[in-house]
Assembly symmetry: C2
Homo-oligomer: 346 residues x 2
């Protein structure tokens, strides 16, 4: 699918850089009020009308962050956008624009990049963000994607990592660990396929886990929900690098401790089944797996009635004094200090 073995496919050299950008972005239109102009000049022109602007950026490298042997390019384009939007939502802001730069080697035909941009375009449409700029160049090996996301919020609503206070409740959106188990399943299928290319895998029972890995959705709904519930979180972070590591960031930057309850961790039944099948401890995976594009935040205890029973939110712990440390409280009521076993790429 990726390798340009098909003579009907269009080599990138046929287009050149400017024609390529034009070709890939021509179907994108801009719709945000804050977007004056998009792709096509030295820079995009935006106007945020006195609101605060948030900016976040991420770099995705083939062979490090994704494996094209099982990640469809359209899904990859979609996910590259999600990774960045999630950081904007983690500021309690609304995402408005992205820029996308890609570097590709000559093994990619034009049609492969069209797939990638189809995914980027779907993400832009679904999440109501405008593609306003980027760069397209060649690489000596593989595919590199760099996305920068911009968003807006009223200054008083922006939520940092540093605002948690003692007795605040620790809350997370969605469930956790599934993206990591989705990756384990894809890696296993890749190994099976290598050994026997005629093997027909039945992945239906793993649909949820694989989707969490290949086509994650950023939590655009959470800032909107919190605003509707009139809850101003005291601190917030995206947990894509692993719950344990991200909780430590909040605690360090807020100068607080935290008790996180093992029994409260929101785990999907499919995730629990997969952990049993792979003989992995579900709590360890939930704490350190990563790639769940969920939000972790703290709220004042007084706000608890507003979020109680909401199916999108789970209270998983509470904030303590810094001297108490950051601990997992196990089902057996033992306290184990948490360590950052989040994603460490070197």
């Amino acid at each position: 699918m990726i390798e340009d073995k098909n003579p009907k496919k269009t080599p990138l050299a046929d287009l050149g850089e400017f024609a390529l950008i034009e070709h890939l972005t021509k179907s994108f239109s801009i719709s945000q009020k804050s977007s004056y102009t998009g792709v096509g000049d030295d820079a995009a022109v935006l106007n945020f009308e006195n609101k605060s602007t948030v900016v976040s950026t991420d770099l995705l490298i083939e062979g490090v962050h994704f494996d094209l042997s099982y990640v469809p390019l359209k899904h990859l384009g979609y996910k590259a956008v999600m990774v960045n939007l999630s950081d904007v939502y983690a500021m309690n802001a609304v995402a408005t624009q992205i820029t996308v730069s890609i570097a590709v080697s000559n093994r990619f035909p034009l049609e492969a990049l069209e797939e990638l941009y189809a995914g980027i375009g779907l993400a832009c449409k679904t999440y109501n963000v405008d593609l306003v700029g980027g760069d397209t160049t060649s690489s000596t090996s593989g595919l590199i994607i760099s996305v920068t996301a911009l968003g807006v919020a009223e200054s008083e609503n922006i939520t940092y990592r540093k605002g948690a206070s003692q007795n605040d409740l620790l809350v997370m959106s969605g469930d956790i660990g599934s993206a990591y188990m989705g990756l384990q399943i894809l890696e296993r299928e890749k190994a099976v396929f290598k050994a026997n290319p005629n093997n027909q895998p039945d992945l239906e029972m793993y649909t949820y886990l694989i989707e969490r890995q290949l086509k994650p959705e950023a939590r655009k709904d959470i800032p909107t929900l919190l605003n509707a519930l009139e809850v101003q979180p005291t601190s917030m972070i995206d947990i894509s690098d692993g719950l344990s590591s991200e909780l430590l960031h909040i605690c360090k930057q807020s100068d607080v401790g935290c008790d996180l309850y093992e029994e409260k961790l929101p785990l999907d039944p499919a995730f629990i089944n997969a952990c049993e099948e792979f003989n992995l401890d579900s709590t360890t995976v939930a704490l350190s797996g990563g790639e769940d594009y969920e939000l972790l935040f703290t709220i004042n205890q007084d706000d608890f009635p507003k979020i109680k029973g909401n199916p999108n939110l789970t209270v998983i712990g509470h904030v303590t004094d810094a001297s108490m440390g950051v601990n997992l409280v196990t089902r057996g009521n033992e306290k184990i200090p948490l360590t950052a076993q989040g994603w460490k790429s070197f």
Copy 2:
């Protein structure tokens, strides 16, 4: 210098991603009024107070955009920032913030990244821009740098590629072609060094050309100068991809033609000497060389007295009707249609 052969150097694996970002960015402070917070949260928070914001992004890939066998890492960091600021200045805006993402393989020790960030830091200080975010990750091979630059301007001063009108004058800053000849000299020295590693090169006569290649300066001064002279350019572009190709962009987007005068091209004497030495046609190099971080713009003829005699600016042509095409008028008074021979990376 780059390869991690020295056991005293610090492997990146000793730090991990978060400690690495913290280490590399700890000496950076933010000073722009529009920067609320910089590195250290899910996203940076900015406020442009009702001014227009411009956003530009570029990706630099080892082996495509730079060769570490003769580009010092500090210079590379500096240049990576210049490449992006130049796009902001080309909108007639003031650059205010950058984000920098890097991907590196394990062959780079910590000390190499410190050099790279020293160059980024020097650029930030010299150009008064704040580093407000980024991403650091591993790559399977080589060094990748992605920079996004933000800037501000009053909406009415922002200058697009599309505003040129018939009879406008075509103006450029600085001189042209030198960066390309600097690259030729560096490539020649690399070949000489490979053949005889004991050869001691004398590059003093090429200082200007090599500096134009290795340590270019973006034209921060030009928007300020034009503002002081009360000249509002009708269109503007950065010519780093080659004068010929960039002029074609202006003409296409403005729906005009242009006559560019060969005899008016601003060429440095060191550039002319080097073209003779390498037996290259100086006009061809000036038109297609690229990597000169100068600005090309058009002004109303009525503004000519305001810029006349300014040593930073040269009138190199005038805008015509679209039906006349885009031409080089040679010293022999022949008209030759210009073609895009600018940088084509595939």
